[in-house]
């Protein structure tokens, strides 16, 4: 369960990115966050990720007060949060399977367990035949699937994604949504930031609309309606 209570965030340059945001996201939900550029979507993701700290208000994720986490405690918290970005952030020197294994190695999991889990994940993201390829040998959609695979390798309860389809054509974007739906069906909460109105209308889900740091619409039904 994710809960934002009156969350306000401004950056050192004085920009008010979020203004008294309140939200509740239940376990197992799949929600979109949409809104014009600069409306604070990425800021919400960064706060959920523990990268940014709200100025005031409370952010609770599975009973963890994310805003008051010490630097030292952030990694532990992140083991429950998978994160996907628009730019894939894969390690270029590692193959697909090594990139996914990396996320488990740094947690100190035993080799055997890692090998097994990497196979499962490769199957889930449908990249078995690309296991030994390097990131620059893959298409954008394939790279994004690797990133998603890496994000869920440790079975986080929540997957957050900041414009995961931002660099992809409509066909590849659909593939990504389908993959996220599959992951959601396995019980993972998915929070996805997007610009893509076509996608939001095609795969209808709860949609939160931001504008200038305010929540202007929270539609359970989904779909984009101009406000």
């Amino acid at each position: 369960m994710i809960e934002f209570k009156n969350v306000t965030k401004s950056y050192p340059n004085g920009v008010h990115a979020l203004n008294r945001i309140s939200l509740e996201i239940e376990d197992g939900e799949f929600i979109y966050i949409i809104g014009p550029t600069g409306s604070g979507k990425s800021t919400i993701i960064k706060i959920l990720n523990g990268e940014e700290v709200p100025d005031s208000g409370l952010v609770m994720v599975d009973n963890v007060d994310v805003g008051s986490l010490k630097h030292r405690k952030v990694p532990q918290y992140r083991r429950n949060i998978g994160c996907v970005f628009q730019d894939y952030r894969l390690l270029p020197a590692l193959t697909v399977q090594e990139n996914i294994a990396f996320a488990l190695e740094v947690l100190g999991l035993p080799k055997k367990m890692i090998r097994k889990r990497v196979q499962e994940v490769l199957e889930l993201v449908d990249l078995k035949e690309k296991a030994r390829a390097y990131p620059d040998e893959l298409s954008g959609g394939q790279q994004q699937r690797v990133t998603i695979g890496r994000a869920i390798a440790n079975r986080p309860k929540i997957l957050i994604a900041d414009e995961p389809t931002g660099n992809l054509d409509p066909e590849k974007s659909r593939e990504i949504i389908a993959l996220l739906e599959k992951i959601n069906a396995m019980g993972t909460t998915v929070v996805m930031v997007t610009h893509d109105i076509v996608l939001v209308n095609e795969f209808k889900k709860r949609t939160i609309t931001l504008d200038q740091g305010f929540v202007v619409k929270d539609s359970k039904k989904g779909g984009y309606v101009s406000v």
Binding site: N49, G50, E51, E52, V53, H71, R72, V74, P75, Q76, Y77, R78, R79, C83, R89, L91, F102, A103, E105, V106, L107, G108, L109, P110, K111, R150, A151, A153, N154
Partner: protein, 300 residues
């Protein structure tokens, strides 16, 4: 337990990857470390010897007092003995008649002097005076020399002590030099690790993203520092520990004379070895702590 082991395995893996990626930097840091620790070991060895020589010389502090050749009668000799004995720094006094003196000379200079044995003996009677405080030996010798009937005095210490003083200065200069080099190696290790961290920014960010603990991210860099320090210490340690006994054998255990007997290798083994290794490791740890410091904390 299992988890702990596999964590350690990855820590070492990343440490070695870091070393391999910046091999040239690592080698320069190690070389500097080797040179400075070798010098430190060398000067430490020298320092131990300076102390050792100084003690040897102190044990050998006696004044040889030669009387005027004319003095033959027991009465005058006893008189002079009494006068010397009354000087406060004098510990003990032993008479050495001219026949004994000749034997000493033959021992020192060779059997050729044997032809002076008997009536031909040109030497004088003499005393050996032991002093209490060897640092005041020159004053005591001067006082004795001024006495009536004393022809000359000689004591072994002075030139030897000058030499020891010189060695002591050399040792201090050497330590200074070695410490400077050690600071340079500290900087080189620091720089190597900083560069490694910098080149791995991306990887570190991803590690944090997927939940690697701060310690997990830090430890490979610390291992890297300790390894550089350790290897840098091992080489000079082996050189000294195996080289010194060779030198000792070659010199038959002495430097110039019996006054400068070398310290037995077994006695310096641990002192020099542990000093070199401990300073190597300390410098390695310190450099990595400084380098890692806050640089891994810039991002949450």
């Amino acid at each position: 337990m299992k988890r702990w082991l596999s964590l350690l395995f990855y820590e070492f893996k990343y440490a070695f990857l870091g070393i391999r990626k910046h091999l040239l930097l690592t080698i320069s840091a190690i070389s500097c470390m080797i040179v400075s620790l070798f010098l430190i070991g060398l000067f430490l060895l020298m320092g131990l010897h300076v102390d050792h020589f100084a003690t040897n010389v102190q044990h050998d502090m006696s004044i040889h007092v030669v009387l005027n050749q004319k003095i033959e009668d027991q009465e005058t000799i006893r008189q002079i003995e009494k006068e010397i004995d009354s000087i406060s720094n004098v510990e003990s006094i032993t008479f050495s008649d001219k026949d004994q003196e000749l034997e000493l000379m033959i021992q020192e200079k060779g059997e050729a002097f044997g032809l002076y044995r008997g009536e031909e003996n040109p030497l004088s009677h003499a005393f050996f005076v032991m002093v209490k405080d060897s640092s005041k030996i020159d004053q005591t010798a001067n006082k004795i020399e001024e006495l009536e009937g004393v022809s000359s005095v000689a004591y072994g210490g002075s030139s030897v002590r000058d030499l020891i003083d010189l060695m002591d200065i050399a040792r201090k200069v050497g330590y200074g030099l070695a410490v400077l080099l050690l600071v340079l190696s500290l900087y080189l290790i620091y720089n190597t690790i900083k560069t490694t961290i910098y080149s791995r920014q991306e990887e570190i960010a991803i590690m944090r993203q997927v939940g690697a603990s701060n310690a997990f991210i830090r430890i490979p860099f610390e291992i890297q520092g300790v390894l550089i320090g350790g290897i840098g210490a091992l080489v000079p340690c082996l050189l000294l520990v195996f080289g010194y006994p060779k030198l000792y054998e070659q010199m038959h255990g002495i430097l110039f004379s019996h006054l400068f007997s070398l310290i037995e290798p077994a006695q310096v083994f641990w002192t020099v070895g542990s000093c070199v290794v401990v300073s190597g490791l300390l410098v390695g740890i310190l450099a990595s702590l400084l380098a890692v410091g806050k640089s891994l904390r810039v991002n949450r």
